[in-house]
């Protein structure tokens, strides 16, 4: 009778020691994440803004409010946002890194101007004016007066010059300005002006430089390695710079005390709980816990709006660059534009948008340009592009004419006897893409092509598509302030000759056209909008004649909002900016215009 439960007793000991270990670890964690926060007073961390009425253990104040979110006990109003999917937050506000928390480029740091995708206009931000010299070799920005950094230091043209020079010198820094750096010769501050000199003329570099987040010289010049700096307590010019709380599962940002737009922002801060998946985020959004979300919600009218028609709203403008069907133009028969056009006519875009995206968008026209580029669109090119119409008969006739005869089983064969059987690659789990892929694969059987949907994990899919190791694939296209990057990404001769097996940044289907390259260099050498439009009309015409890649439907900027606590969200009637966080830095405009009720 020494020990009645020897084994069980030992387990109890292991178990208790495990608990003790938990205790140790957990007391360490908050210290580790909070220690560097010198400006955030310790008291605010325990201030406990109320949240989650579904939480049975929430404090009395929290449980008393029927409100599920955003008002803290001292009356501050926080906008709860669903963005970036993570299970735990890592504290990183470095604007030169790619995995920073989203406000870094849309609330904390600010660019010189914002190209507003929703309106198609450029809104001056930290700069008030900019101009090219006569031969487009020098770009001069005039810096806004009266802007201060959140620590009270004045903002100046020197900070802008410092930021751009830092990027130029250090190739490891990422940011919107990166693409322009290879054209930039020097950057210098002069009074309230910043002069950027170019070694090679590229007028579209304006957008890249204008969108670069500007950092304070007096802080960053003291940082040993800006690449690996996590910038836990940022000093910046944006509307939200104070980090009130930063925990594993939630963070909160408060107002910049020195913000330059008097009276703005109207809200006291932003809050972001951690949601590891779309489902978790959508559950909270549907439950009314998020004031602003940019997730895909299936059947949004029934699942979200119907829950609270007065407050739950969405706006899904289909103005992003289109989803493409890519055909590897280095391989026969995809090197023949008529075959590409025939394939394009072999599936029904209308059906795809109805099934894959609940008709939130419409089909693309043959130029591929979304509605946000309506001003750029060449009506003649749109009219000439009949190959986006669903027409099985004509597609069959064109394939017959191309010498691709049907075999005994109804599948066409190439002149060398190979049957036309191809995989259409797609990323597994990207449901709208997979559905699109399946519809296309099914439809192509009608025109004698045996296509099969083939799903890959993202990395594997991207590896294949970049290296050109595919026959057919679904893919995205470039979106930028002008349509040039869209076409360049699909037709640039520079990238067309990359051998199969070597990675290409874009132009995965490897189509090149010297005429487009010539038009491209004309376009970037002029800063005259009328001239640019003329060139763009020609480029569109070539795209429509050649069909280097097949536009399917424009991508959508997802956005849902709840008006229970806040107003002045953009929507179809008042489209002053996009809701989606995918549009950066546009979100600065959104966050400075939302008002508490």
């Amino acid at each position: 009778m020494k020990l009645r439960f020897p084994a069980l007793m030992l387990l109890v000991i292991i178990f208790t020691s495990m608990l003790a270990a938990c205790g140790d670890a957990s007391t360490l964690t908050p210290q580790a994440t909070q220690a560097p926060s010198t400006t955030a007073p310790a008291a605010t961390a325990t201030e406990a803004p109320a949240t989650g009425s579904t939480d049975p253990t929430a404090e009395p104040t929290a449980a008393a409010t029927t409100d599920t979110g955003s008002t803290s006990s001292d009356g501050k109003v926080f906008l709860t946002v669903s963005d970036q999917q993570q299970s735990t937050w890592v504290r990183n506000f470095n604007p030169f890194a790619s995995d920073n928390r989203w406000p870094t480029a849309a609330g904390i740091y600010e660019p010189m101007f914002i190209y507003n995708i929703a309106t198609g206009k450029i809104e001056p931000w930290l700069a008030t004016e900019w101009a090219w010299n006569s031969d487009n070799t020098e770009l001069t920005f005039t810096i806004r007066d009266g802007v201060k950094w959140s620590d009270g230091e004045p903002f100046s043209s020197k900070d802008v010059a410092y930021t751009l020079n830092l990027m130029k010198e250090n190739e490891k820094l990422q940011g919107n300005g990166r693409a322009a750096m290879r054209f930039v010769d020097s950057v210098a501050a002069d009074g309230n002006k910043v002069v950027v000199k170019f070694s090679e003329v590229s007028t579209i570099a304006l957008y890249d430089i204008g969108h670069q987040m500007i950092v304070p010289e007096h802080i960053w010049s003291k940082i040993a390695d800006p690449v690996t700096f996590t910038n836990e307590t940022p000093i910046a010019t944006g509307p939200f710079t104070e980090i009130i709380r930063f925990q594993d599962q939630i963070w909160e940002l408060g107002k910049n005390p020195n913000y330059w737009q008097a009276g703005k922002p109207y809200i006291d801060g932003i809050r972001q709980p951690a949601y590891p998946s779309n489902d978790a985020a959508n559950l909270a959004t549907i439950n009314g816990e998020n004031d602003l979300a940019s997730n895909f919600i299936p059947d949004v009218e029934n699942t979200y709006v119907a829950k609270d028609p007065e407050n739950n709203h969405y706006w899904f403008p289909p103005v992003n660059a289109p989803v493409m069907l890519l055909l590897n133009t280095t391989k026969a028969p995809f090197d023949d534009p008529n075959v590409r056009k025939a394939i394009s006519m072999g599936f029904d875009r209308q059906q795809i948008t109805e099934i894959a995206t609940y008709s939130y968008n419409g089909p693309s026209d043959a130029t591929g340009l979304p509605e946000s580029f309506a001003d750029w669109k060449n009506p003649e090119a749109v009219a000439a592009g009949d190959w986006v119409n669903f027409d099985v008969e004509k597609a069959n006739a064109m394939l017959d004419a191309a010498g691709l005869t049907r075999g005994a089983d109804g599948i066409r064969v190439l002149p060398d006897g190979t049957p036309m059987a191809y995989d259409i690659n797609v990323v597994s789990g990207w449901t709208d893409w997979v559905t699109t892929d399946q519809i296309i694969a099914e439809s192509l059987k009608e025109i004698g092509i045996n296509a099969t949907t083939r799903t890959y994990d993202f990395s594997a899919w991207f590896d294949k598509v970049q290296k050109g190791e595919f026959d057919m694939s679904i893919g995205w296209s470039n979106n930028a302030p002008t349509p040039l990057q869209f076409y360049r990404g699909l037709m640039s001769g520079e990238t067309a000759d990359t051998p199969i097996g070597e990675a290409n940044g874009d132009n995965w289907h490897r189509y090149g056209n010297p005429k487009v390259d010539e038009l491209y260099s004309q376009f970037v050498k002029t800063s005259d909008p009328a001239e640019q439009k003329k060139i763009m009309n020609e480029i569109q015409m070539i795209f429509v004649q050649e069909a280097p890649a097949i536009p399917i439907m424009p991508n959508i900027y997802w956005g849902e909002y709840n008006t229970k606590r806040f107003t002045n969200f953009p929507n179809e009637e008042n489209p002053y900016v996009l809701l989606s966080s995918f549009a950066q830095p546009d979100r600065l405009i959104l966050l400075t215009n939302i008002k508490p009720k």
Binding site: R4, L10, L11, I14, M18, C22, A25, S26, T29, P30, T33, A48, A50, T51, G52, T54, D55, P56, T57, A58, E59, A62, Q86, S87, T88, V90, N92, A97, S98, D99, E171, K172, L173, Q174, R178, A179, R182, T228, Q247, D248, Q249, I250, A274, P276, S277, A280, A284, F458, S459, A460, F462, D463, K464, W476, S477, N478, N479, N504, G505, N555
Partner: protein, 325 residues
């Protein structure tokens, strides 16, 4: 003692093998980490930026063997490197964000499930064909046969979302800060853990119970049990010290495994309940080819499995005198 030394030697070899596999396996997957980051940007980043990402991440083109030795060297110094997916955060910092929560949730649930399952199994076998013995094993096996995520999603939707009895997500109320000295906080942690832990327990308890019951039934027919009965020992003593102690052995082995897999096994629970643990980190690391983070996490799992097995070996020596040679 010699037994333990031999085991230790075996564990050292196993640790080295798994270190090596940790290094090579991720690198055999197609793609590269800089490209994988693109999943989150879908055309918003320019090709120029991929180049600068590659430079920033310091992805080496050196021969794999050379990289392997660099990796061993930095491991011996306790350096896990910088995570690529969470660049520029240290792997150790990233892991520390979720470590406590995974250990707490999955560890606790595994231990509870083991205890309850075994106790139910012992009682079930002791009162054979009683109510417990006829109802519990089929019912629990039935529940355990559900795909795990299905059980968790049903529980989340009906009990937390529709009925509102449990919190929808997270390890503690968002309104609170981490403070293990505060009763409110601990209560909040418990209430948040209740539903996910119950799901894990429900999903795994059937196996424990069935295993225990079946071994126990076999042992109860052994001669030494009859002998103990004949000696007139108390029923409790026969049940626990004679029968259960022997029947426990196979289950203890599986418990070692289960304890080791705590870190990896709770992946789906954590994602469904938005629990801030390591499960989702692991998924993300694998998806985004974050070599350093994968290595860090796999290393932790490996050592947890090996450590738990070592403990079980020691436990075995103590439980079963036949192993003491």
């Amino acid at each position: 003692m010699r037994f333990l030394l031999r085991r230790l030697g075996f564990y050292a070899v196993a640790a080295w093998v798994s270190l090596t596999v940790n290094f090579y396996l991720p690198r055999l997957m197609p793609g590269d980490p800089a490209s994988a980051i693109f999943a989150r940007f879908q055309g918003r980043l320019r090709p120029e930026e991929i180049d600068s990402l590659r430079k920033a991440y310091g992805l080496s083109d050196a021969p794999l063997l050379e990289q392997y030795f660099t990796y061993l060297r930095s491991l011996s110094r306790g350096e896990f490197g910088i995570s690529i997916n969470f660049f520029p955060a240290q792997v150790t910092d990233v892991i520390s964000t979720g470590f406590t929560w995974t250990l707490l949730l999955a560890g606790l649930a595994t231990v509870i499930s083991f205890f309850l399952g075994n106790v139910l199994g012992i009682i079930g076998a002791w009162r054979r064909n009683g109510i417990l013995d006829s109802v519990a094993p089929p019912l629990l096996t039935f529940i355990g046969a559900f795909p795990y995520f299905f059980l968790a999603m049903i529980a989340l939707y009906f009990l937390a979302f529709q009925a509102g009895w449990f919190p929808l997500r997270h390890a503690y109320s968002d309104a609170l800060s981490v403070d293990w000295g505060s009763l409110t906080f601990i209560k909040s942690v418990i209430s948040h853990m209740l539903l996910p832990a119950t799901c894990i327990v429900l999903a795994s308890i059937g196996g424990w119970m069935l295993g225990m019951r079946n071994t126990m039934v076999g042992i109860l027919s052994e001669d030494y049990i009859t002998m103990a009965q004949a000696k007139g020992l108390s029923q409790q003593r026969i049940m626990f010290s004679y029968a259960a102690r022997n029947a426990l052995l196979p289950n203890v082995t599986s418990f070692g495994m289960a304890l080791g897999f705590v870190l990896s096994g709770s992946l789906l629970t954590e994602i469904i309940f938005a629990y801030p643990g390591l499960g989702y980190l692991l998924l993300q690391a694998v998806r985004n080819l974050d070599y350093p983070l994968m290595q860090g996490l796999f290393l932790m799992i490996t050592f947890a499995v090996l450590g738990a097995n070592l403990l079980v070996d020691i436990l075995y020596v103590w439980l079963d005198p036949r192993t003491r040679r």
